[in-house]
């Protein structure tokens, strides 16, 4: 089973009140070095079997039609969730942790 990641961000010129709220909270925790925060959305679309070009094309279309609003947002990335990548490692370790929890 493969997965596709779709990342969506507000366009740079659109105000991001949520990002601003996060930016306001960071210094209170001692994180003083960040001058701006923009908050986006990540979707993980899972398919049966390996991800094909057709799946990727459909994901791109879905990203433009439903997952983002082109008036205010950009689809910044549509890519296969790689088995060996850090994001997959992190997903696997989360899964392992929850399995441990069940036992």
């Amino acid at each position: 089973m493969g997965s596709i990641v779709v990342d969506v961000m507000l366009k740079p010129e659109i105000l991001d009140p949520q990002g601003q709220a996060v930016a306001g909270a960071l210094p209170r925790l001692g994180f003083d070095g960040f001058t701006d925060v923009r908050q986006g959305k990540r979707f993980v679309l899972t398919v049966d079997g390996d991800v094909t070009d057709e799946h990727l094309g459909a994901a791109q279309e879905a990203a433009e039609k439903l997952l983002s609003n082109p008036v205010i947002e950009d689809v910044v990335s549509v890519h296969v969730l790689e088995q060996d990548s850090a994001e997959q490692d992190s997903a696997e370790s989360d899964a392992a942790a929850s399995e441990d929890g069940e036992q």
């Binding site: 659109i14 105000l15 009140p17 601003q20 709220a21 439903l66 997952l67 008036v71 205010i72």
Partner: protein
Amino acid sequence: MRVGVVTFPGSLDDRDAARAVRECGGEAVPLWHGDDDLKGVDAVILPGGFSYGDYLRCGAIARFAPVMDALVPAAQGGLPVLGICNGFQVLTESHLLPGALIRNDHRKFNCVDQRLVVENASTAWTSDFEAGQEITIVLKNGEGGFVADEKTLDMLEGEGRVVFRYVPDAEGRNPNGSYRHIAGITNERGNVVGLMPHPEHAVEEGYGPSLDGRGFFTSIIKQTLESAATA
């Protein structure tokens, strides 16, 4: 005169909108999000609320409800449609109206009696007002900041498609950070109108800040009766 009021999962003000239609002399017809049937109504209201929990983006999932498959082409063909609050968000997500609504710039939920200036009194929903008239109706939203690129904003203003503007406060601010104080807009033809404030909460003595909301409903009722008489 039959005005359809759509109920989506999470709609909040559908009953108030239907009541406002009846108070102003029309017949309110309930329409269901899951039916691609407009039941032959003369006009449609998309009400306020939190359709589909406002998940993904406000109005984004409602836009693909079966009833919208019937409504979008009908609106493009001239059927009068009024989107109030969440309904306005559905209209922008449907691209029946340009721009988008984002979270209020101050990040707080608004619930206020709001002064507006009617800038365009020639749409299907505003003909009972005078251009330049000031009205006060309820505004209640968390994501009511109207945004669009400069070109679109210039186009809306140039074509007289800004229907309502917020009266800014003493510091020159409007209640949600809307660009150019825009509270409501219309399409090129003037049959589709969307606004964040709620006319349906200002139609009855003793409830709401005024009776200024009645003009929306009397406008559409009169217009439909007149066009029926000349047909």
